[in-house]
């Protein structure tokens, strides 16, 4: 079973429960197929209502996440299990992709431009949706178009990213750069 540590252990600015976040993370890890012998650290910045999230370390695995990313946008300061699962699932796919051998030529996350981030996210979230996670296709289309242009060519590239099960970094790069306005 995955060893998950959530920091902080107790939240004071938002109504989050570290144990619930760990439960959601464990459930998502099983569904996306993260190896069970891993240790995962989740660092949540509860003081930030923004929605940023990133893999801050691949070895050991550590995710750094704004509290707002886990928040129920209908009920501010409350945890949304669905959004928590979406964010963690997307980041877990980054870990899985990078360990697949198909992403060895991908730059460090911090060196990837916004368009490539949007393309990789589309590929990850498409896979999550097929696993039964909350639908966010339209939101991802909008983000993708913002980075690649509001064109038919961009929409076609999005469809391929969204619908494919196993793309390599070279595929993502080709689709993203090939459709930019």
């Amino acid at each position: 079973m995955l060893d998950i540590e959530v920091t902080p252990n107790e939240f004071t600015m938002v109504f989050f429960d570290a144990a619930v976040i760990a439960e959601v993370a464990a459930d998502v890890a099983v569904k996306v197929g993260l190896p069970e012998d891993l240790k995962l650290s989740l660092i949540v910045d509860e003081g930030s209502p923004l929605g940023r999230s990133r893999v801050s370390s691949y070895d050991p695995i550590e995710f750094t996440i704004d509290g707002g990313a886990f928040e129920d946008t209908r009920r501010p300061r409350n945890l949304s299990k669905a959004r928590t699962a979406d964010v963690l699932g997307r980041l877990m796919y980054r870990v899985i992709d990078r360990s697949s051998g198909q992403f060895d030529d991908a730059p460090e996350d911090g060196d990837i431009d916004l368009a490539l981030h949007a393309a990789w996210d589309a590929h990850s979230v498409g896979r999550l949706e097929r696993l039964g996670f909350s639908p966010q296709r339209k939101r991802r289309v909008y983000q993708f178009r913002n980075r690649h242009g509001f064109t038919d060519r961009a929409d076609q590239a999005f469809e391929e990213l969204w619908g494919s099960s196993e793309l390599s970094w070279a595929d993502i790069e080709r689709l993203s750069t090939g459709c930019r306005a």
Binding site: L50, R74, P76, R139, Y142, R145, N146
Partner: protein, 265 residues
């Protein structure tokens, strides 16, 4: 039908969840608007969270359009012609209802375009509450000049966002709604001056009410006159809507004041 309808009883279906002002302003992380805060930088597509901030802001505009429709509708009904207001004021409010209803429909289509669900974000009813003032002059000053004035600033910012992102749908929708908002603000400016022409005390009260609403809706400086303000005060359109340069300067000062207060809180 009763007059002055309370905000708590506005009709909404189960998709909409309301957040009280108390909850909003007691959030220890700071009050938020449109997925950002006063500490946020100018909203542009180049920001990593730009598209999501735009979605949140447009949802805020959508619920604002619903409340503006409800407010203008109430103003048509709450006051008696002759005793309280001239008939022409009601005609203006009826026209505004027509515009706001169209804006609601545009906003629903825009939400779909941007991948936002209706009710995805909490609704705050401060706009409608400003439309409950029992004095029609204060109501029009608070809603049409302060809040519709804010709408001018937001629509200008979002129109620019659409232009920079190469999103013609967003850009054109914002442009069309912006044209209506300028008219709504002009209505507020015209009625304020006409109804208080011989009553300087009432005009002064109305302008004070507008200052209160403007400060509240500067969201601790989220909307301001500085280059890095997430939502920028739009001087050109405000001038077309009957604002003097001094009045716009006053709103800019209020925003800076609110930002400074938030920073020291």
């Amino acid at each position: 039908m009763r007059k002055i309808f309370p905000a708590e009883e506005l009709a909404r279906d189960s998709r909409f969840i309301r957040q009280s002002n108390e909850a909003r302003f007691s959030d220890p992380r700071g009050a938020r608007v449109g997925g950002g805060s006063a500490a946020s930088t100018k909203l542009t597509p180049e920001q990593a969270n730009g598209p999501d901030r735009a979605r949140a802001l447009m949802h805020g505009i959508f619920v604002g359009e619903i409340q503006a429709l409800e407010g203008a509708g109430r103003t048509c009904f709450d006051f008696e012609v002759g005793e309280d207001v001239p008939f022409e004021l009601k005609l203006d409010m009826a026209r505004q209802c027509w515009d706001e209803a169209r804006h609601c429909e545009i906003s629903v289509a825009l939400a779909d375009h941007m991948g936002t669900e209706l009710g995805e974000y909490a609704e705050n009813t401060t706009l409608y509450e400003a439309a409950c003032n029992p004095d029609p002059v204060l109501r029009l000053t608070g809603v049409n000049r302060a809040l519709e004035g804010l709408a001018i600033d937001v629509f200008s910012t979002m129109k620019e966002f659409g232009n920079l992102a190469g999103d013609p749908v967003l850009e054109f929708c914002e442009d069309w709604m912006l044209a209506d908002e300028v008219t709504h603000v002009k209505m507020g400016s015209d009625w304020l001056r006409s109804l208080t022409a011989k009553d300087p005390e009432r005009r002064s009260k109305a302008l004070e009410f507008q200052r209160v609403v403007d400060k509240l809706f500067s969201f601790s400086g989220f909307r301001g006159d500085d280059e890095d303000s997430p939502i920028k005060l739009t001087r050109q359109f405000r001038s077309l809507a009957g604002f003097t340069d001094d009045e716009v300067d006053d709103i800019a000062d209020l925003a800076r004041e609110a930002k400074a207060e938030a920073a020291t809180a």
